[in-house]
């Protein structure tokens, strides 16, 4: 699978990473060669095969639907680059 620069820019935007022109160029080549390399998976017959969902067979544990943790907003926001009164502060998003 060959991907072009426009695709690189599109996925970079989806991933919220700004890329320079130079980066876009080299990513175009690198991602294309990785995608070409993974093409070989098409040789594997996967009809009637379930996708692996967990490495070890286990059943999900159930627990009471009660609050077991929390109540420390100050700790949660402690590492924020910008916070105010235990809220995260971000650039204005609503006009």
């Amino acid at each position: 699978m060959q991907i072009n620069e426009a695709t690189v820019r599109k996925i970079a935007h989806l991933a919220r990473i700004k890329v320079t022109d130079e980066e876009a160029k080299s990513l175009e080549n690198e991602l294309s060669s990785i995608l070409e390399w993974v093409e070989q998976l098409n040789e594997v017959d996967t009809n009637d095969v379930e996708p692996m969902t967990s490495a070890v067979e286990t059943s999900m544990m159930m627990r009471e639907d009660v609050v077991t943790d929390g109540g420390y907003a100050g700790r949660v926001t402690k590492n924020a680059p910008l916070s105010e009164d235990n809220f995260f502060v971000v650039p204005k998003v609503v006009e």
């Binding site: 990473i17 990785i34 998976l41 594997v44 490495a55 286990t58």
Partner: protein
């Protein structure tokens, strides 16, 4: 007290309990060695000597009261992927600048409850993505080993390069590490140390910076097989905070590994015999086979037909999960923020500056394979291939108890030698990545030396939760290989 640095964890426990030396003395000798060696090796990216001495003092008090835990007074290095309360945690990335977790990973809590002492945080590839420790924001970590008659700097492997380098150079008694595609076992092989990747679910992932959640597993890097058992004993637990943690009691590994391996059946997977495999790796593998025959094991050739697809499937699954896990680094909740014109450009600027090239490459690869229209063709396909890989192992384990393979296709390489081509770097994990894809336990044990004078490792792959037998069999390699050389102390 330089000789204290030579002790294994097992011997140090003995010395501490006999009162031959104090935990404080033992820790102090490591602190001094780190001071002397770290400029050259760059194994520790954060040193915590004051905290270490404080913890060691408490260990001495507990030893005096007869309340010693299983790692009481043992100074460890912690891979900087584990959150440590109040102590900076970076994942080797610029994007976590200044992050001081307000909690500790379950592994760390278990280790401190067992009495271990923290010397500091260890270097790694950024977000554990790499096989050479060269993608770290804090600069490459250096392998204590050098080629015969050569001073070229070699990589310690990765991503747990700092853990492997620090243990091999005796800067700590043991270290924590993590393994997503070979990140414990490959650096262990490159540095002549023992690296154990437990069964997926044996050790809690809670509080470890996530890379690929269905593959990540924490384990120890140590200098002896015994020490690996002791450390796993302390690290492993069932943890309600990790939904993939498995609710099975942690067995007594040292008890399980006692005795002989006579009667054990060991499989040799023929697909691991690669075209163009170097003679020395081939010979090392054969040596391992001969050792097991001598020890009374039965050797059987087995087939794992989907082996060659493990690595390409991994490079879909791991980046896909990484792109999702790393979405949280957005300049809002922790770490670096680079301002922009609006919130979107703030995200984009922060992530552009905060992530290194390899991490960006994997996030973009993952975003692509998960994007609309491609999910079935890539991610779903890879997860189905993964089922095939697991079926191969299930069939093999009907005939054999465990598998023996080389750990890596070559000894440690030089800095810069493989960093130009991502695919060439990825091929380093060719023998280790299958184990993560199937969720199995694996261990790398030093087994011999290359012609260039570098350590080489053999890998054992076990059935799920069969770490006890794996450790028992690993000791056969350790004992048969005898005393292997130590790296020359050129760094201090």
């Amino acid at each position: 007290m330089k000789d204290l640095l030579e002790l294994s964890i097992a011997d140090a426990r003995e010395g501490l309990s006999q009162g031959d030396f104090s935990a404080k003395e033992y820790t102090q000798s490591h602190i001094e060695e780190i001071e002397a060696a770290n400029d050259a090796l760059n194994a520790f990216i954060l040193k915590t000597p004051e905290k270490a001495l404080e913890m060691a003092e408490k260990s001495d008090e507990r030893i005096a009261k007869g309340e010693a835990g299983i790692l009481e007074g043992i100074p460890l290095g912690i891979k900087d992927l584990f959150c440590t309360e109040g102590v900076g945690t970076t994942a080797g990335s610029h994007i976590l600048d200044g992050f001081k977790p307000t909690y500790s990973s379950t592994v760390n809590t278990n280790l401190w409850n067992a009495g271990a002492v923290m010397l500091g945080k260890l270097n790694l590839d950024e977000f554990a993505m790499g096989s050479s420790n060269e993608t770290s924001y804090f600069g490459p970590c250096v392998n204590p080993w050098r080629r015969k008659d050569d001073q070229v700097k070699l990589v310690p492997g990765g991503s747990s390069g700092g853990s492997a380098s620090a243990v091999a150079a005796h800067l700590c008694a043991g270290a924590t590490a993590t393994d997503t595609g070979g990140s414990i076992r490959q650096p262990a092989a490159f540095t002549g140390t023992v690296g154990l990747k437990p069964t997926y679910g044996r050790v809690s992932r809670w509080g470890i910076v996530a890379f690929a959640s269905s593959l990540d597993q924490a384990g120890p890097i140590t200098r002896t097989v015994d020490d690996a058992a002791i450390m796993l004993q302390a690290m492993a637990s069932y943890d309600e905070k990790d939904t993939t943690s498995v609710n099975l009691p942690v067995p007594d590994y040292q008890e399980q590994m006692a005795g002989k391996i006579k009667g054990l059946t060991i499989g040799i997977p023929k697909e691991y015999r690669l075209d163009g495999m170097s003679d020395e790796i081939e010979a090392l593998w054969q040596q391992g086979i001969d050792w097991y025959k001598e020890a009374g094991a039965k050797i059987v050739e087995v087939s794992l037909p989907h082996t060659k697809y493990a690595l390409p499937a991994y490079y879909i699954v791991a980046p896909a999960e990484a792109s999702s896990n790393l979405a949280r680094y957005d300049g809002v909740k922790y770490g670096l923020r680079v301002e922009g014109d609006d919130i979107i450009s703030m995200y984009e600027n922060t992530r552009a500056e905060g992530f290194g090239a390899e991490v960006k490459r994997r996030i973009l690869m993952g975003t692509y394979v998960l994007s609309a229209g491609y999910y079935d063709a890539y991610y779903l396909k890879a997860q189905k291939v993964r089922t095939r890989i697991k079926q191969d192992f299930d069939e093999a384990f009907e005939k054999v108890d465990m598998l023996l393979t080389p750990t890596t296709p070559s000894p440690a390489f030089a800095e810069g030698e493989k960093s130009g081509d991502p695919l060439e770097m990825y091929l380093n994990d060719i023998f280790t990545v299958t184990v993560n894809m199937a969720g199995l336990p694996g261990i790398s044990v030093p087994a011999g030396m290359s012609q260039s004078g570098l350590p080489l490792g053999l890998q054992l792959i076990g059935k799920p939760f069969d770490e006890g037998n794996l450790l028992k069999a690993a000791r056969v390699i350790e004992q048969s290989a005898g005393e292997l050389p130590e790296p020359e102390r050129w760094w201090s």
